[in-house]
Symmetry: D2
Subunit: 344 residues, 4 copies
Amino acid sequence: MKSRLNVGVIGLGRLGRVYAEDLARYVSNASLVAVADNRADVAASFAQEYGVPKWYECHRDLLNDEDVAAVAVITPTSTHKEVVIEAAGRGKAIFCEKPISLSIADATEMLDAVEHSGAFFQMGFQRRFDTGYIEAKHKIDAGVIGTPVLIALISRDPFAPPLEFCDPKASGGLILDMGIHDFDLARMFVGEVKTVYATGGALAYPEMKSVGDIDNAVVNLTFENGSLGVVQLSRNAVFGYDIRTEIWGTKGSLQIGYFRHTPVLVMTKEGIAHDVVPHFMQRFEEAYLMQIQDFVHNALNGGEPSISGTDGIAALQIGFAATESWREGRPVAVRYENGQAKAP
Amino acid sequence: MKSRLNVGVIGLGRLGRVYAEDLARYVSNASLVAVADNRADVAASFAQEYGVPKWYECHRDLLNDEDVAAVAVITPTSTHKEVVIEAAGRGKAIFCEKPISLSIADATEMLDAVEHSGAFFQMGFQRRFDTGYIEAKHKIDAGVIGTPVLIALISRDPFAPPLEFCDPKASGGLILDMGIHDFDLARMFVGEVKTVYATGGALAYPEMKSVGDIDNAVVNLTFENGSLGVVQLSRNAVFGYDIRTEIWGTKGSLQIGYFRHTPVLVMTKEGIAHDVVPHFMQRFEEAYLMQIQDFVHNALNGGEPSISGTDGIAALQIGFAATESWREGRPVAVRYENGQAKAP
Amino acid sequence: MKSRLNVGVIGLGRLGRVYAEDLARYVSNASLVAVADNRADVAASFAQEYGVPKWYECHRDLLNDEDVAAVAVITPTSTHKEVVIEAAGRGKAIFCEKPISLSIADATEMLDAVEHSGAFFQMGFQRRFDTGYIEAKHKIDAGVIGTPVLIALISRDPFAPPLEFCDPKASGGLILDMGIHDFDLARMFVGEVKTVYATGGALAYPEMKSVGDIDNAVVNLTFENGSLGVVQLSRNAVFGYDIRTEIWGTKGSLQIGYFRHTPVLVMTKEGIAHDVVPHFMQRFEEAYLMQIQDFVHNALNGGEPSISGTDGIAALQIGFAATESWREGRPVAVRYENGQAKAP
Amino acid sequence: MKSRLNVGVIGLGRLGRVYAEDLARYVSNASLVAVADNRADVAASFAQEYGVPKWYECHRDLLNDEDVAAVAVITPTSTHKEVVIEAAGRGKAIFCEKPISLSIADATEMLDAVEHSGAFFQMGFQRRFDTGYIEAKHKIDAGVIGTPVLIALISRDPFAPPLEFCDPKASGGLILDMGIHDFDLARMFVGEVKTVYATGGALAYPEMKSVGDIDNAVVNLTFENGSLGVVQLSRNAVFGYDIRTEIWGTKGSLQIGYFRHTPVLVMTKEGIAHDVVPHFMQRFEEAYLMQIQDFVHNALNGGEPSISGTDGIAALQIGFAATESWREGRPVAVRYENGQAKAP
């Protein structure tokens, strides 16, 4: 019988519940031994529903629990620093949901603490575990499209978050908040980004101007290897969730992503229509599971993390540079070298 | 905490292993407490790998195990009768993979034993649990296409089984073996079938004639409510697994099924190509899990089976009639009424 | 400068006008020198609009016109015999729209007259000139799919004709009227049909029963070379015009036909939808032009007709046999050999 | 009978021959009365093949021909100025293929001459006459997608031109040469462009650096009304010709363009593949015809040109600004107001 990893989940928001449920039910070599949420009733009822032995109101109590060998940190981004540094101090293996932080300085401090403690640390960027992206990576590595020269990425939400969640100080703003997945994929498929240029506006939801955010953006990327990239971000894909990537190489190209949800086509007098992917959970449900399984596997087997803290900082750095570019109307150099953040 | 169902799996062939793995890992309210296979080493190694407490060489020993409340019967069809009748005698809840039997008389005897014992019995037809088919059923029930008047079903395998598995005495022959899924779907979507007419031939693999089987068939269906149906079956979809259904109604129509596997399109000098579904396991992996979860749920909660033994016999009866039609070159009446098999 | 063919068009109904306009404007080596329609005003106004030098009320006057070297016969089917025999007697090259006749005896008499006169005679089956079908034929001839073993054809209209046009005595009934195109394609792609079996019903428009016609049919084909075929016909593709063909071979398969009209996808809150082909004219507009160009080319150059009168009879014979099969509920042998109609 | 326009075509290169053939054969209210090409044998043999009454070696002789009422100017861009100004002086109606010129000053001089002469002048941008784009424009005008806020355009060629045709002094360079169609569409769908930012590189054909051109570019657009745009250009769509446009609005979006050429899907052991559009002539053949028909119609009826000289300059100005942006690595303001070019 295989060894199992005892995991605690900190933060039971929408996404935290997904990871906790995956760990409770579907990850065969993990045991969900504890959950923590500062809303005690949420933690208690989740524990009861899923048969989790222990629940805590304070994350610190979970971190002090000797039964817990690993933690998934799914709390608001602003608390990542505190929780991760404490978890590292307790020697827990750590899974940290993106973005690692909204501050390069904080993120660097977190990774220093992790390195000092020797704790296992893996970032969350679930798209890397999606069947489509995995298959695309295999095909590129196999030389199917030659050398990639241009990557075009699209992320569109079906609606804007409520205005109170759009404050860029908390969310990082559209470009960072939505684009960070695309910036991470761009690095995975093509390499490090050298400079960015972004345009944007509050075009579909003008009320966003009141909080200083936008709802549409186009971000140009120039890679250190000379390749090109472009990211389109928007909140007005009113029909559903639109995630697509194209990678163009010297010998061919790949298109990843589609609009259909179920393989059902409906043909009526109104025309021919097919289902769409409503939002990110329907699109990436399986990828979230694959990702947490991968973390458990790596933490158990002492391997390298599939996505490192440095990856977390690198994507963040691109997002900051792009946001700055949008604000200032000029191209901006991304301040890191080989994935290492540089002081501004 | 919910109650759990203790399940034993009998038969660890390709499909038996799928169900057993699903029960061991992914069905939260089930415990896989025992497996049985007449190849002792297969049973032992599976039990070890998946942490199953007990394994048996003889299905009878598993049926005698008091810890086992329910069994999944995934043995060769020719043994279904013996295993199911014994399981019913032991009061186990029973999940029986399709086809229920290759004999109406045997199947009737099985269902009589089940009824007499009061055991819970559910047939396996996994397509009913596929996302696409579920969604289609919902849309039809919601009136989206009006009244269905024609159903067209397609099942194509990427290759023929080895000749030794094509003996119609064991497999039932192409029309029954492949078509039974389509006959079941036809009943689910449209209703009872009144008459059938079938044509067929060993056209892509002429060597099949030596064992008396064919590799292509077209089966016309006439339903008791006057609707029409047509089923295409073949073994020469050389590119992959091709499962499609179209349902045409008075106000619209539905198309279920597609060729793509991952959402990746590859564009090279050779043209534009996309991945395909290689075979049934890739197409219906999730449906198999949904199906066994559904069985566990129904067995625990004492409800009606989602697919009854009568459903199992009805699909079989259509397959027999179609095979007879092919052999004799004339339309044949399906000998059941309201899902009840009639004596020939 | 190339020689030109002086053509007259007889019959200016919907389709006759299409051919006449094509000849007037787009067929470079033809001159439309005369039109005839028994509605004098229709003939006169068409001639004026398109600059046609002469118009006639009676087809016989057009046939007597020495300037006319060739005629396109687009009159009601019931008049084909009279017009074609007279045209042959006058030595005109003849293009005859499908169906050649609603009587094998009449059609045979027509072809005898044509043969006796030595006139050039070409049947109209425009689908043979559609880009998709041409490309498919090339690929099959090039061996891309090996030997064809099954052909599946679909023709669906978006609505039923007015009841007064559904009288099978005039239209031939659904199976003949709609299916004749598919029967012709089946012969072109696979070979001669040996037996047919058909089911059908007035399912979407029950009022059709009053005139003795149906709105849905499924026709099984068995070819003389052992291959299989199936044709689906219906009048209730409420979203538009649905023409599809699949040809399955020993090494691959081809799918011809699609739902989209323009390459525009519309994505709104109601979902994702695309345009459809409204009806046959939008689908086959270009094929009609290609077909009449082909006739002009062949008539000028004295070659073999692309589609012969024998082809016209063969498709008709399949339609009759299938209609008989539907009426009598049994498989029916198609009474021709190598495209030659046999006496019943 | 309608009046006809006597047209002369100047320049019988690849595209000139297309227009000339369209005028000779398919444009019903035009007569192709003369062609001119400085390769006398080309002009003579075209005239003979298509029955054109007169041919000239020198465009000036054609312009002096009193029978010629209108000219299509399809000569190399560098000669547009001379030919158009002379044609205007002769009072001919003028159709001018894109780009109008490679110099804003020259183009302005041309339009001044046209205005002074009162000649009818229409620019060529054939995509505006493509079925897909026309349909999209109708849907936007009908409010189907609300207010457009972002336009994303893609143009990819299947290969690079020979190096000797890549000299940016003659071609304008990738961004201008390929992008001008997209800049024109951007203006048609969204409005005037305010600033541009471009990145690019010789990534798939490094030898292009030797002539100072590139093979990939991404151009960001900011419109005067605040909307956003992005244009992707490349020469390495090795599978075929890739022209796509997406327009995202406040209430929905439109996708125009697709990869398939014929509606044939080929399924073999190598996978599932479909035909593609090889190059621009196959994609826009019909649009070229529609465009020249539209010119003839407008010239005959004295209406406004569908695409004005000002449109020609505006697209050119965007191309110059984007090229400058690429060279200098900074955003560049487009120097025109309301379609009027401003002095730099």
